[in-house]
Amino acid sequence: MNKTVNQKAWLFVLPVFILVAFNAVIPLMTVVNYSVQETFGDNTFFWSGVLWFTEILQSERFHDSLGRQMIFTFSILAIEVPLGVAIALTMPRKGAWVPVCLVLMALPLLIPWNVVGAMWNIFALPDIGLLGYGLNAMGFDYNFTRQIGDAWFTLILMDVWHWTSLVVLLAYAGLVSIPDAYYQAAKIDGAGAFAIFRYIQLPKMKRVLTIAVLLRFMDSFMVYTEAVVLTGGGPGNSTTLLSIDLVKIALGQFDLGPAAAMSIIYFLIILALSWVFYTLMMRNEES
């Protein structure tokens, strides 16, 4: 669309600008401020330069939680995106079942995150939970509070349960927007199901799928509440993801300097990776 140049448009943006600046800039400055200072707990602060940054970047603890975060984020992306597309492809396009499917599928998205964690905790308890009891009855030795593998399995299954629907809804929206004429043309050309998927459905879903990947990436990188309620980062530290570790340092141990430095590094990682996705997405839209 042709946009007119109008500097007065700033007035329209002003309320948003003020609110977000109040919420983002002031706290961010506080974080930056803490990240370069040392304190001995009596409200006196000393300049410490980049000490906390080098300390965090070299600490094994940070490397470990970053590594666990990467494993978590990439596993859930690898499961949720293909699964979401598969479900969207097989969903009915018309009829009375469509709203029923949509409402039921959107339900997990609207459950408060601590309830999601608590629900999965109850569901997976080895003695009285349906999943835990079921797995044990089938002969698996399952206990997510004691065994690392089981904790990871439950954590990933919970995220798949919670968020695959977002991918489904987005992919489905992309599919519904394809005009029938495309399919008729494909039929005349004698295209098979795979050819239709590859040359009609996939290109049409490209934009919404990029959005889905971007949203899932950002949100899974920030996941906190569900994971804490489910496993508390345990057993040991085996499921301590980045934000769990950060909250432990900031609000648990009250180490403001290291926590602030870690916040900034954490934010920059998300920002950098999201910027890559965003640029790719915009390039796709232009071409």
């Binding site: 329209f12 943006v13 409402v103 599928m105 459950i111 009285i128 987005l170 926590a259 916040s263």
Partner: protein, 265 residues
Amino acid sequence: MKRTAIVPALYIVFLMLPIYWLVSMSFKTTNEILGGFSLYPRDFTLENYIVIFTDPVWYTGYLNSMAYVSLNTVLSVACALPAAYAFSRYRFIGDKHLFFWLLTNRMAPPAVFALPFFQLYSAVGLFDTHIAVALSHTLFNIPLAVWILEGFMSGVPKELDETAYVDGHSFWSFFLKIFIPTIAAGIGVACFFCFMFSWVELLLAKTLTAVEAKPIAATMTRTASTSGYELGLLAAAGTLTIVPGAFVIYFVRNYIAKGFALGRV
């Protein structure tokens, strides 16, 4: 129905299983829960729900959550409307940078902001009020609302604006009487997402409140840690948090798919 419909059907069964378990747990007595595995409540009881509806500690939690979520939704969408209009219609200095900067706030992990928010809102005297939580949630909801609304508005041809001006409408009369009804679906979708992300967020809501404005989710976590492990009560409280979400989805069910396709999210 086609044979492939088995895939979504299985998926929905998978989605419903944990929810069924939560709901069935909420109708069980504590003795039955701790006594061992049972597929459905044998000793059907409403005890847990009665506690929640009669004990002010519990039900005020719901009222508090509702209060700040509605406040946040209205605030986010009302501020985002003119901004999204500006982004979709005009070019101005710094527009692209501003848009990306807004989006970066959607990427900020709440864990990073928890402590500074606590200090900021204590300093301005808003700690433990609904306003504090509603304002803090605009951090991620305003960027999202701007993003969604801008997508919808860009789909409305500019000729609509021009015709209205020729017909003698002033800007505000055009904006309120013609433009807003035109993008009503978009506003619905934006409200839905603002409601959703404010309703499910806990970390900031919990950090910014103590007693007066404590959200239901925080009541649940505190009960879990203080009064032992009353699973039935927790399950009942959890079940009730699903209800408002289910209502909201039911109302926007026809817009969700359309909204996803037209808008950005």
